[in-house]
Amino acid sequence: MKHEEQHIQLTVPADAHYVDIVRLTLYGIATKWGFSYEEIEDMKVAVAEACNNAVLHAYKDREPGKVEVTFSGAEGECIRISVKDEGASFDFDHRGGQPEALHNKSLKDIRAGGLGIYMMQALMDDVQVITDSGTEVILTKFLQRNGEMA
């Protein structure tokens, strides 16, 4: 049975103390749509990294703003999470091109910058970053169904 696509919106202040609300909401929605514990744990980290970027970069030296999170998808299919701010566009490309992990570097060369976007890409099936008026990060994960894979 195919379920109808749903859209659930949540707007929170661009403040570190509200990122956990986004994680908790994701937990509830992803559980309802059939994702496993492990998949949800991965998505919690990815969505929080997208929110962290908005909290840290979007409204720097500006009036405090908001982060709009939209969860779209259908039960048993996939989830698409849009994390959008209206602050300064975060230049992912300029911040070091391809996001890198820390593998095969010397200790003095490792740094945490850029790990957030790397983790989003590693933990989700697809990550899109749209910078226009503000930044929108769209994270997608498909539901892995047992016995239906080719």
């Binding site: 570190a16 103390h17 990122v19 956990d20 994680r23 908790l24 937990y27 514990y37 744990e41 919690k44 980290v45 929080a48 990294e49 962290n52 909290v55 840290l56 992990a101 820390l102 593998h103 095969n104 570097k105 200790l107 003095k108 490792i110 740094r111 945490a112 790990l115 957030g116 790397y118 983790m119 590693a122 933990l123």
Partner: protein, 118 residues
């Protein structure tokens, strides 16, 4: 689901300082944790041990703090070890690549973890 404010507890012996991280280490908890741990990070006399058994969540901010601690411990020549790292947290350490720089012990046996998750 398990949801609690982040906090640390400390245990000191002549040879080591063990700091247990509890709850969710995210952007909102990062600066507080860094300030709490600062006094111990530059002490080279004892090994600094972080117990991660009750750490339920970490993001890149938390991993960034561990990277800075590791560099500081290396600079002062003090021991630095992570113990009882749960598979969920270890997975993020492996993905980011920080595992290769850390002296870490994974928590429990698979049997124990199963009980813990359920």
């Amino acid at each position: 689901m398990n949801r609690e404010k982040f906090y640390i507890t400390k245990q000191m012996t002549p040879a080591a300082i063990t700091i247990s991280l509890n709850g969710e280490l995210d952007l909102s908890a990062a600066s507080e944790m860094q300030a709490d741990l600062e006094p111990y990070v530059n002490q080279s006399g004892r090994t600094l041990i972080l117990n991660l058994r009750n750490l339920h969540y970490i993001d890149s901010t938390g991993i960034g703090i561990l990277i800075r601690m590791l560099k500081q411990r290396t600079a002062v020549g003090g021991g630095f070890k992570l113990v009882e790292v749960t598979p969920k947290i270890k997975k993020l350490f492996d993905i980011t690549g920080i595992s290769q720089y850390l002296d870490l012990e994974v928590a429990g046996t698979p049997q124990e973890r199963k009980e813990d998750i359920v």
